[in-house]
Every structure is written in structure tokens, then in C-alpha cells.
Symmetry: D2
Subunit: 187 residues, 4 copies
């Protein structure tokens, strides 16, 4: 398969974030044609439409980085049964100014990760609703709802469980196939 | 009726925001026992759980302000079929640290406002899902989906249409009754 | 506390439904002022607005039964990440003809039950969105997402786990308090 | 383009349904390689998992019909801010028995139609959540939220407005292209 540049967006800014661990675990088991780059969202000012005429440096750089990617992997916790504000802010920024969204057409996949027990379902699906609007092609199956994240990683952030590792591997294989499918459709 | 302190949270930071106009219009027609105060959200750093131990000044002040209110009025646009990141960030901040949310129990109402034509429905309901989790009592009926906001205000930000004004008046009357109802239940 | 008539609506028609078991378990641990009656939904014809002028017997009886209740307990599985059609059909029927909904104002609680592992979250929240529109007062906290239902009951349908039983007990206590709160507000 | 068999599923059973009018209008302006067939859902018994071993005739015929289609067009009203029970019931039936769903992989498009003014947004997106789970490829843009349906059709059910007709034409063109895209990806 052709090399694919995948931007990784993590919905938590916490240094020891389980979502960051999960993202790293996904990268470690992904098909080798996928080349990953983390995209920083913690340095972005809160979106203000008044900035559309002259955007902060951080917006410009973020939009260019997103634009340069072939696909996007979202790994996100749930805050209050929805998408974290910090992640939604990033999505909003790269969707504007109106008509200049840089998300459109890119294949995407979502893994939601929580220390709770309902898989951050609320974040996963609110995010899907936004990505639908942005005309991204989002992997449907397999869905990835990761519960009880505290028990999944060892001290070095590696997955401790073979079943989880197999699921992560399968998920990334499906994402790679989906990117390939989406790109064939576009040719 | 008893005096009630209502915090007003506007989901857009734009200086000439239609949502800000709508909030001001709602205040202008509200029952006189409701006393309003705008709560600033544009100065809040992006939420990071690592701040829970020692929060930025802006978080502390915001949480105290929310806590001091008897009820909350949300007036919000829709960004990408969901809640603006800037608003969700504020909600997340005042919901943490875990177990110390200052939203719980407060009656709330939501008006969603858009220049488009489906009333910012996506923002309205994603916000409801978050407020449900935060154990707020949210006014159900009447719902308030405001479309075509560009045509609703004059140059000074006043409502130009009697029907709209009647709807806004009715909405705030319902909110005042709902606050009263919620408080009676709590006594 | 005053006696309260609670209608129980189960979202699955399956004879050995785990949702039915969960409903029975909830009833068995509920405060004694709550008096329960199951409301049948499996005998309802598919809703057709053309029936509004002259409704089938089953609709008439169902609407009267719902109307006679003081509160409603919904116990539902998730079908395809949303509310089962069979349950939504019942909700639609008792919401019509337009302006004659019999749901409005009634306190309600939702437990969602699945043999899967994300607590039927999708059904729970899609149902909440409908009940909001119907102006029902729906218990927010504690939420009740029940996963892995296969492991929760013994052969006679009784809960095998003390933690689950405590959670069910707590949930029904909260529902009884919520009904009391809602009714005080209404007086 | 290759001939494509498109099943049309209308979410309202009402004889003079605006959704049925909208479906017919969509068909009348569609690219000629799309061949349409309405799929009846009003004759389906309420889904009961106990039927999985021996399904009613209506289920068997419905599943075969869905299976025979290359793509699906959903045209649906909103009942109580969600998908009509009658439509969800049909979706549930063709998704079962477990592992034998006949929806998977089919490209789909959704138009939601209401006499109200927020475009049946709630039905549109709850339906999307179900179709995502069923691994259908659903057209993202353009979205189709049709409000004020009473004013759109003449006595014979034809669209009276050139703008609406242009939008319907554009929508079906986008659907045809999307089907083509999805099929290329699959080859």
C-alpha cells in the first residue's frame, strides 16, 4: 500500500493521559504504510470568529498541519458525556473561516477512551456528528469504545492485555483499509 | 417572586455576535425578579486536568462566579453541528476537579441561535446531554431554536419583529416559572 | 410518602428479555410507596397519522393507561445504537394526536440494559431527547447503564450480585425522591 | 454510469405524507442510472427477537427486498425529536438475526422532511447513528433538512419552487456520485 500521512489528534492535554497512551499503542501496531504525526491542540487560543480576518499564528500553523495530512486519527476522552472543549475548539478552528475548512474529504477514525465503563460513547458520537458536517469519511466499523483504561497499560504505557492488543491491531488494519477504500473512490 | 441571580453564558466570543444580541434581548423582556449577570468565558485557558491541583486564576474565578448563581441561561451558536469548543471548554472547567462541579442542581435554559435555518439544533441537544450529566434541571418546553438571526435585529441590536419578541418574552416567563418550580421542589 | 402509580414500559418484547428481568428487579427493591404496573406495547399497531381521527382500540387503551399513571419507568435495550422501534412506536402513539400527548409533565426514569459493554448508552440518550420534547421530567442522576446483562441474573431472574442490587436500590430511591421533588414543584 | 437499484424507505405511513411527496420529487429529478423501488414498511410486525428462529413472512420478504438493493434512500419525518418508531422498527428487522444484517455496506442518503421549522434534524441524526452502526456508507454533504413542507408542493404533489427543485436535483446528483464513489472503493 501507498504511504499515508496520518495526523493524530488527542482530546486530552494531561501529561499522563490514557488517551495519549492509547494513541501511542495504536501507532505501535498499525500497518507500516501509515506514517503518524501528532498534531498539537493545547496551544490554540479559544476560537473567535473575529480572528477570521487575521488569525493567530497558532491557528495558521494548525490549519496547515491538518491540511497536509492524508487522514486523521482521533483519540479522545469524554468530558461530561460529550467531546472535550479542547478538542472541539481545535475542530472549530480548522473548520474556519467559512468555506475554508481543511478537514473536508479526509478519512478519519475515532477511538474513545475512558477510565469509566461506557466507553466514552457520548464523546465518540458527538464527534461523529461534527465530522459528518465537515464531510470527512469516518470509519464506521469496528467502533472503538475503550473502558477501564486504568487497567490496560503498564507503567511504561504498553498494553498489558493480548485481547486489547489484538483489538487495537484489528482497528488500525481496518483504518488502513478504509483509507485505501476512500482514496480509490476519490480517484 | 423571589429575586433570582441568573448567570448568562454566551457561546460565541465574536464582538458583534447575534447570540450576544439574543441574550440581551432575552434579558430585556425577562420577568423582573430575574437579575442577570454575564459570565465571561473567553479568558479561560483550555482545560487541562493537570491544572486540577493548582488551577489558573481564571478557572478559580469562573468556578466561583458560576457557583454564586441561582440559575444559568445559555445562549449559543452551533459550530459544526455541535456545541462551540469555547462553550464546552467553560462547561468542562466548572465541572472539575472531579466531584467538585459547581453546575449541579442549578436550573438552566438554552436558546440556540444561528444565521442558518435549522435553529442550531445540534448545539442545543449536545449541550443538553452535557447538562443532564451535570445534574442541572434544564427547561424542556418551550424549546428555543432561533434561525435566520441576521434578519431579527436592527442596527442597535433590538428585535425588529413582534412575533420574535413575544416568543422571547414567553420563553423567559417559562424559565422564571421553571426556576420557581425547581426551587419549590428543592425545599 | 404518598402512593405513586408508576407505569413500567419495557423496550423489548422478547419473552426472556433481560430488560424485563431488570424491570422486575427494580420493582423488587423500590420504595414501598411506588406502585407498579407494566404497560403492554407489543400489541400496538405501527403508528399511522391517518388513524388520528379514529384510532385503533389498542391506541386508545394504551393512551388511557399512560394517562392514568403518575410516573413512568423505562427499561430498554439498544437496537442499532438507538431506541428500539417497538418502544419508539409506543412513545409516538401516546404523543398523538398533535396537542393531545399524554406523556407531558410526568416524572420518568430510564435504565438501559444490554448484553454488550457500553450500557446501551445510545438508546438511553436518544430516548432522553424524545422525552425532553414530550415535556417529561427525566431523572438525570444517577444514570443507569447496565452492561453484560447475561451475568447479572440467576435462573429465576434474580440479581446475583450485591453491588448491582445496591445500585438498583439506590436508583429507585433516587427516582422516588425525584417524583416527590417534581410533584412538590408542581403544587 | 452503471444502473443502480435504489430502495426508497419512507418513514411515514400517512397516505398524503409530505415525505412520500418528497420521495417522489427526488425520484423525478434523479440521474437516470438510478432505478427506484419503494420498500413497504407499514406491514411489518413489531420486531421481537423471539421471531429470529422463525420470522414472519413480512420480515423475510422485507429483508430480501433490502438485500436486493444496491443503495437506500431514506426520506423521513421526525416524531418527538427522533426517528419515527415505524421506520426504526423496519431498520431493526432488517438488522437481525444478529450477524445477518442486510444493510451493511450499502450506500445511503437521508432527507428529513417536516412541516415544522428545524428540518427534522433530530430524526436525521438519530438515523445516522443507527446507520453508522449498520456499517452503511451515508452521504454526508449536502445534508437535506426540509422545513415548512406544507408550502413546497402543489395539489398534485409537485414541487412549486425552483430553488427547492434545484436543491433536490443537486442532492440526487450528489447521491449518485457518492454511490459511484462507494462502489469504486469497494472494487
Amino acid at each position: 500500500m501507498k504511504e499515508v500521512k496520518v495526523g493524530v489528534v488527542v482530546g486530552s492535554l494531561r501529561k499522563d493521559s490514557y488517551n495519549l497512551m492509547a494513541a501511542n499503542a495504536l501507532i505501535s501496531v498499525a500497518p507500516r504504510n501509515l506514517k503518524f504525526e501528532f498534531i498539537e491542540i493545547g496551544n490554540l487560543e479559544l476560537y473567535n470568529q473575529d480572528y477570521d480576518e487575521k488569525s493567530p499564528e497558532s491557528y495558521v500553523a494548525f490549519r496547515e498541519k491538518v491540511k497536509s495530512m492524508d487522514a486523521i486519527l482521533f483519540v479522545t476522552p469524554e468530558y461530561n458525556r460529550s467531546v472535550p472543549g479542547v478538542l472541539k475548539n481545535a475542530i472549530d478552528i480548522a473548520s474556519r473561516p467559512w468555506g475554508q475548512s481543511v478537514w473536508g474529504g479526509k478519512p478519519a477514525a475515532i477511538m474513545s477512551v475512558t477510565i469509566g465503563n461506557v466507553g466514552a460513547f457520548g464523546a465518540n458520537h458527538h464527534l461523529r456528528q461534527a465530522l459528518m458536517f465537515l464531510d470527512m469519511a469516518v470509519l464506521a466499523q469496528p467502533e472503538a469504545y475503550i473502558s477501564n483504561a486504568m487497567s490496560l497499560f503498564d507503567a511504561s504505557g504498553k498494553l498489558v492485555n493480548e485481547d486489547t492488543k489484538a483489538f487495537f491491531t484489528n482497528f488500525m488494519k481496518a483504518f488502513a483499509d478504509f483509507i485505501d477504500y476512500a482514496n480509490q473512490g476519490l480517484n
